[in-house]
Subunit: 316 residues, 2 copies
């Protein structure tokens, strides 16, 4: 029996967040992907990545956004694939993408050159992109194995409905499914009913915004949509003092398996993996940084072992 | 004598919008660029492009943003360069960029292939990117001539201070300078003094935001910072009914030369170039669209002729 609170979240989703037209089609794709890979003995992780847009107008000119380059999600996707997982990559349109993320700061045309002569060939200048060969090889292998299913969102509404669809798709493979919820999701939104159609006019004077709180989707995800899955949520704070307390409270409230807690300024070199029983600090040393070790490699290795134990306990 | 209103805008800028640390260095670069190109007989256009971020927290996790891919600014920069202008491209970090913009929707790794054999060479697959050769050639010629000076902003504060610096730099070349203010600038902001330091806690309940109106920078730009320049502002509305009226009012208020007026849904195929005396509709026909003509080509051609007349009238 679903409890009233959860019903109301499902209700809110349907009422106040526009359903993307392609959600059923995407859901079928995700289900087929999960079943195919589970049958092949792979585990499947759903990674959410990037920030969500919250429109202030229905024909959107202005929107509220969350800071997130999508680096953690894109980087983690690569390490999950290296660990034998198949990845559904539910990411913000234009956020960082697995394998291409290392070129995101480079102007592509600065990295190309003509061979010269009449060949008309255009080459990558490997002085500008020394790792291109390795990245292209890994990318092609990943495509060969069809190990990555990319799904895009931009708005909070798209994110919420696609996450629900993904959870229902992955429920078909039980404990072999992992949810790695790294996206930076807005806590606030303006209900469709209260949204002006046209661009807010500055001539009307200062702007007063009143935003509702976004329903805590983690609750129905854990209880109803994918009750057997291994679920990891992320906590990002700017104030380290309240971080672990908030992580523990999230575990108590939502009854999921792991919270990865991090502070904005140190998030690339330090996280705490919090479970109901344990608390593990993952830290990059100076040496790690010099060797270009990424914290996501440590996070993924910690979580894949935890997922192993979880599956055994569930007798999956 | 600057009038009180303008003083107060300069004051507000200094008080309520954090000054970027590199503004003086950027200003020197822009001044040198303008003087060098004016001496070589070039005109110089400052293009602003992309949307501005308005932080809600001083250690920013959340921000208000404006819809803008930067397509119009990036595309226009190419046509200005084709018309013999040197371009200062003041653009939002990661917005569309001249020449690379046509590849922005493509995953770079899908467009590359190994030559095979032991060469270790990585080639562009010209079936995926048929125009790469042409784009690379134009890009390399532009770099050769040092015709583009790219400057990045992200926040509204950076935009405002860098635009002021640009205006003062370009005032050194008088009427040979054009301002093409295509960026989508926020009308609202939260003063540094009223901004919380840390991430707003959703546990505190619904979010009430009260935002001040951004000072109208066009006013001091036209009157004080670059009084001899040829200045174009843009009006984007979602409601066509109020568009031309708002364009005319802007010309009356700020006394600049041109407003390019457009409606969100039709902006790629229809604009109105409004001056105090004239009003010209620029429209792409079906045929134009099939021939991949871009509206920016028409806009730039219209404005460069208007700039010619303007310079002659000024006896520049």
């Amino acid at each position: 029996m679903a409890n009233p609170k959860i019903c109301s979240i499902d209700g809110k989703l349907a009422e106040e967040f526009a359903v993307p037209s392609h959600v059923d089609e995407v859901k079928e794709k995700m289900t087929a992907f999960a079943i195919r890979h589970a049958a092949a003995g792979h585990r499947v992780v759903l990674i959410t990545s990037g920030g969500t847009k919250v429109p202030l107008e229905s024909r959107t000119v202005r929107f509220l956004d969350n800071f997130s380059s999508g680096r953690r999600g894109a980087s983690s996707a690569e390490y999950f694939i290296d660990s034998g997982y198949a990845v559904i990559f539910l990411h913000r349109h234009r956020s960082l993408y697995p394998y291409t993320r290392m070129f995101s700061t480079i102007n592509m045309l600065d990295a190309l050159k003509f061979r010269g002569g009449d060949s008309g060939e255009v080459l990558v200048n490997q002085q500008v992109l020394p790792n291109i060969s390795k990245a292209l090889k890994r990318y092609q292998e990943m495509k060969e194995g069809q190990l990555l299913l990319p799904i895009e969102f931009s708005s909070l509404s798209e994110y919420l409905h696609l996450l629900k669809a993904a959870a229902q798709s992955l429920s078909t493979i039980g404990s072999k499914a992992m949810f790695y919820l790294a996206a930076a999701v807005s806590d606030f939104y303006i209900p469709a009913s209260e949204m002006p159609e046209h661009k807010i006019q500055s001539s009307n004077g200062p702007l007063q915004l009143s935003m509702n709180m976004v329903p805590k989707i983690l609750s129905p995800l854990v209880k109803d949509w994918a009750p057997q899955a291994f679920v990891i949520s992320f906590k990002l704070e700017t104030d380290g003092a309240i971080l672990l307390d908030k992580a523990r409270r999230a575990l108590d409230t939502y009854r999921h398996q792991v919270v990865v807690a991090n502070v904005l300024d140190s998030r690339r070199g330090y996280v705490v993996v919090v479970t109901p029983e344990t608390q593990a600090e993952l830290i990059l040393t100076e040496e790690d940084v010099q060797n270009e070790v990424e914290i996501e490699e440590r996070i993924v290795s910690n979580l894949t072992s935890a997922h192993n134990k979880f599956i055994t306990q569930q007798g999956g």
